[in-house]
């Protein structure tokens, strides 16, 4: 039997505030198959973002292991993690986090700087990613010239430009109107089905969660169902 793509084992995470230890995640065990589209739901402060950050390799657990395609990311040091993230994870944030002084195309090209691709190849990849999200015509627009939904689609293009296996999305529709949110979810659905991206999405919008193939609930740092 093949090991699951993502294995979260016995994860504990707590923050130190003054002398107080604040537990955020307790005894998290989770397996996610390749090509899964999973939504994490739960009340604010339940630890959704923290769990997502741990899996995405931008935070470290207090204890426990996270195995992704056989690599224990909790064992990697800062620079190994940086390389690992650039190859394996695409980030989609609630507030898009595009760089305002770069055009849509330049924003999408940004993570490609970290790859060995040539200048021409980088540009071709970025144009393709923008075409996938349906914004080829807007590639020379700056973020401020785009709507929220378009900005988020550019952010998604940036996330898929390096062709990572995993996409992490923290409240990707949290800042969007219904129609734009619908477009973004539709796009994520397509990326999952057509490009076989493994998608981990944090949301507290039940309609968003419905688009995922499975849903897990977090409550006070513990995973239910």
């Amino acid at each position: 039997m093949v090991a699951p793509f993502i294995q979260v084992q016995e994860i504990y995470k707590s923050y130190q505030r003054d002398s107080l230890e604040i537990p955020v995640l307790r005894n998290i065990n989770l397996e996610i198959a390749e090509g899964e589209f999973i939504a994490f739901m739960g009340p604010s402060g339940s630890g959704k973002t923290t769990l997502l950050n741990l899996i995405a390799g931008i935070d470290k657990p207090t204890s426990g292991k996270i195995l992704i395609a056989g690599t224990d990311v909790t064992e990697l040091n800062e620079s190994e993690l940086a390389v690992w993230r650039s190859r394996n994870v695409g980030f989609i944030f609630q507030f898009y986090n595009l760089i305002p002084v770069l055009t849509a195309l330049e924003n999408v090209e940004l993570p490609l700087i970290l790859t060995p691709l040539s200048k021409k190849e980088r540009r071709a990849h970025a144009e393709m990613a923008l075409a996938v999200v349906g914004l080829a015509e807007r590639m020379h627009h700056y973020p401020r010239q785009l709507s929220g939904g378009q900005e988020q689609r550019v952010a998604i293009a940036r996330a898929i430009a390096t062709d990572p296996a995993i996409l992490v999305a923290d409240e990707p529709t949290g800042d969007l109107d219904k129609a734009s949110a619908e477009e973004v979810l539709e796009l994520m659905d397509r990326l999952n089905r057509e490009l076989n991206k493994t998608i981990l999405m944090v949301t507290h919008d039940p309609r968003a969660a419905e688009r995922a193939r499975s849903t897990r609930n977090l409550d006070k740092g513990e995973l239910n169902n």
Partner: protein, 386 residues
Amino acid sequence: MELVRLLFRNVLRHKLRGILTIVGVGVAVMAFALLQTVVSAWYAGVEASAANRLISRHAVSFVFPLPLAYRDRIAQIPGVNKVTFASWFSGVYIDKNQFFARLAVDSDTFFDVYSEFLVPPEQFEVFKRERNAAIIGSDIAQRYNLKLGDIMPIEGDVFPGQWEFVVRGIYEPRDQTTDPTTMMFHYKYLEERVRQEMPQRAGDIGWYIVRIDDPDNSAAISQEIDKLFANSRAETKTETERAFQQSFLSAASAVITAMNVMSFVIIGIILLVVGNTMIMSARERTHEFAVLKALGFTGGQLFFLIAGESILLSLFGSALGLGVTFPAVAGFETALPKGWFPVFYIKPETVAIGCAAGLLVGVLAAIIPLRRVLTTRIVEGLRHVG
């Protein structure tokens, strides 16, 4: 797209702030360069001094004369190569605001010892043959539009009376530090009239300039000269030309030191200006740097972005500042009384220090924001609002 494009866009992300920072650095660098230029103008005499020249003057004060008779005795001291002398003539040319040195010199020897005054040989021949001939610096010729053969009427003060000199030579300064504004004429001509009009002052000269074979012997030879005239009517004080020039500065030295210190304080101020801008912009972009780190950008790449922005800001500023320094120095010179500083130019060192300071400030100003960006954990940076 390369990272350097982001770097350049960042410099002018806040156009007004970027421009104000660049202008701020520019103004400060200009002030620095201007102060340094004034300081080095004060020191021009010291810098122009030759290591193999000693100045022998009256031990009590420079204003008292020495007997001409000392000349041959000094010349006999071993190690002395040549002796010449000069007298401070001063006088008023046109009006009292025209500053340049006017000296009666021993024309047979003076230009040998002061080889940095380049007089065309044919002009020098004519000069030697005419009793009231004068040689003037090229700057003086230009400033007063004087040509060979022109008359310079001067009203005497140290040596009262009406004097008239004919310009027979125009010298070019050999070095950039050479004073191009001196006027020199025959001591013999002065002496001729002094004998008739002020006989009690006959045979006086101002000071001796002693060229020696080996600069290493300057202390010993100076002592020997002074020993020769100890306990005489006019005791001498002999020192290197450099020390002599420096003694002129001693009165102003506190001001010069203050200006020098101030010019470097200004560099410190630039650091604060750029540092402040960099701290502000890095703080505003806390979120953005966290995103870059999440995408996999390394500390080295963030260093490139932040230090690069800081260095660009301060180098643009320095370039602007040094660019306006040249007209500023020219303007400053015209605002001064004519000839106040005989040698007034922007030294290459000043330009070099200005550029180096720009670079250094750029690097230093990046340190605090860089530390912040590198030590802020990604998740904290992403949570950061504002």
